[in-house]
Symmetry: none
Subunit: 206 residues, 4 copies
């Protein structure tokens, strides 16, 4: 009975991280509504009141998960992009980091992308903020020169959408991040380049 596996009396910061780990896992598996605080507490190895004491309500807990995971993803991408020279290299590095992250942290991505998106008003803000941080980062990659705001915004949305779908594909086929990155670059790089140069596709019919 007396603490073999779970040392009691851990410092607060550690316990909080354990709880968040558990929460991310449960939210990823069941979605926000499907998750129960009971399960989170059990998986974290603490009693429910502890969860409430440390992280607040279910809503708060979900928010905390989103923020922590989004920050982790951002950091991974940012540091990957950091010391690449050309736009092309930045994109490649960024995509590779992204695909790598998704492959290595399925739960994290699951919560962020699948579970959190479009979850009624109380969460929309939190999630949108997180998602926009990422899209903005991509916009930053592409929009080094003067594409108009609208253009770059749409472009990065499309890129992130495509990347997301490919991440899923990659997680099913198990292909390495570099290959998936190549597929994506294959599809979009020339388009991006031309867009940066100001050229654009015209309907063939006209």
């Amino acid at each position: 009975m007396t603490g073999v596996a779970n040392p009691k009396r851990l410092p607060r910061a550690v316990r909080e991280q354990q709880m968040l780990d558990a929460a991310v896992r449960v939210f990823a598996d069941r979605g926000y509504h499907g998750a129960s605080m009971d399960e989170v507490a059990e998986l974290a190895g603490v009693s429910k009141p502890m969860v409430y004491l440390y992280l607040g309500s279910k809503e708060d807990l979900f928010g905390a998960c989103i923020r922590r995971e989004a920050a982790r993803l951002m950091e991974r991408i940012t540091s990957a992009v950091h010391d690449a020279a050309t736009i092309e290299c930045r994109l490649v590095s960024g995509f590779e980091a992204f695909f790598g992250y998704v492959a290595e942290h399925k739960d994290s991505w699951n919560v962020l992308y699948h579970r959190a998106r479009a979850l009624g008003p109380p969460f929309a803000d939190e999630v949108d903020r997180a998602r926009h941080d990422i899209i903005d980062a991509v916009t930053g990659l592409v929009d080094q020169r003067g594409a108009s705001a609208g253009e770059a915004g749409a472009l990065s949305h499309a890129l992130v959408g495509a990347a997301d779908a490919l991440a899923e594909w990659a997680s099913r086929t198990g292909e390495p991040a570099t290959v998936t990155t190549a597929r994506l670059m294959n599809l979009v790089w020339i388009g991006i380049e031309r867009q940066i140069d100001g050229a654009s596709w015209r309907p063939a019919s006209s």
Copy 2:
């Protein structure tokens, strides 16, 4: 009380459609777990037992929504693509139809795309089938000639992902389907063309 003022004693087929309309709306707004059968019934202007009698369990009801909405979207795309001559034209028509549909039937798209994806085993099949019908249609557009199966699959996943993200963007900015289509073609058409021709992007560094 909130439902439309309905004449009583409608024939079954009519009531079923009303219920499905309501269900799509509610599932779109709240997600599967967040939706309550009470709300569906109220919005449909009937009592709960009618919903259970006609459409079965919540799970069944959700499945019925998915199937109906997926069929509608597919029909719209299929008929748009039908009489276009070149691959390029087909893509343009297909995207326009898609963006048009998403713009005009927000709830439908919401259920199909945001709410239904990644919803545990009981639904995975139904949803996956619907989603794959669409992706297969896109694959069919692109893969008229001999891109290898894997290539085409990844490509169409990426295209659908990009289109989805742009649809969201468009729904926020309110731009017409033709403009969004142009943005997307701008980004990907050359890449597609080259891929059809067998050329591909190479990492610049090597």
Copy 3:
């Protein structure tokens, strides 16, 4: 659609019997609370309102079942006992008739004995009346001469109880009514005889 199997427009008396047949079956299978009017109606091949129109509420329907089946059992026993000469013969004939009935009409016995007994106040009367008709008949068999009322009552209760338990035993082993009857007579006949003669068992210890 138009009546191949179930001729429509049957005379009321026939329909009522069909419904009662169905009801006995369903009540036997599921018990009073577990049975649903839907199932009864379906099994009877009519719509629910017909059941209500002809037999009244669920409670009424159950009562009607009890009465009909109890009457059938009583008639079987009564006519078997009718032309036996001695008390012993009457008992044997009565038990054989009883065991035979239980073996041949499982549902009927099930409803009467298992499902109906001890079913809260609304039914207690109906069921008790039916059960007492049978016990009274047994009392009549045994009490031809002057056992005091109390004695005979207790005796016949015990006999019916034993017979009931043996009926169940017989229905499991499938042994013929005559054998089961012999078992029972084996156990109780001498005791009955002595009781009729006024002799009685005395505790051995005194």
Copy 4:
């Protein structure tokens, strides 16, 4: 409101017994299907979630009742029989204990005997096990010497059936257990004795 005025925050073991007490009472009064978890909780003086937390589903709860009550009855009979010397004494002690138990714990007997019997597959096992423990005990009393298995089985079924019916009779007339026991011995002892000795009743007619 109806429950006993309970001090709050009782230890689990205590609360569980209170809940079982209430459940036995309610199941006895209404039968399995007729009983509602609401009523059980109210009578136990706790909220429904506590019942589910401690005892599980309605089915589980019913099973727990059956097990507890069957064990109590068995213990009473076993300890009564324990130090009687002859078969006759054992039977007398056993019956007295049984009639005493039924008289003193009406609800318990009601659940065990009337409510639980013949209750569809999910319960059949539990109930049958409990019931057979009792019948086996009786078989053990009677079958000290070599009555064949079938014989002894039928005999003990019949005895338990008779005892049950007499218990009911006794509970109506209020007569003491010793008197009811005498009635039963009066009826069956000679039959049992002869059966032990291998003699048996023969149809008078042959």
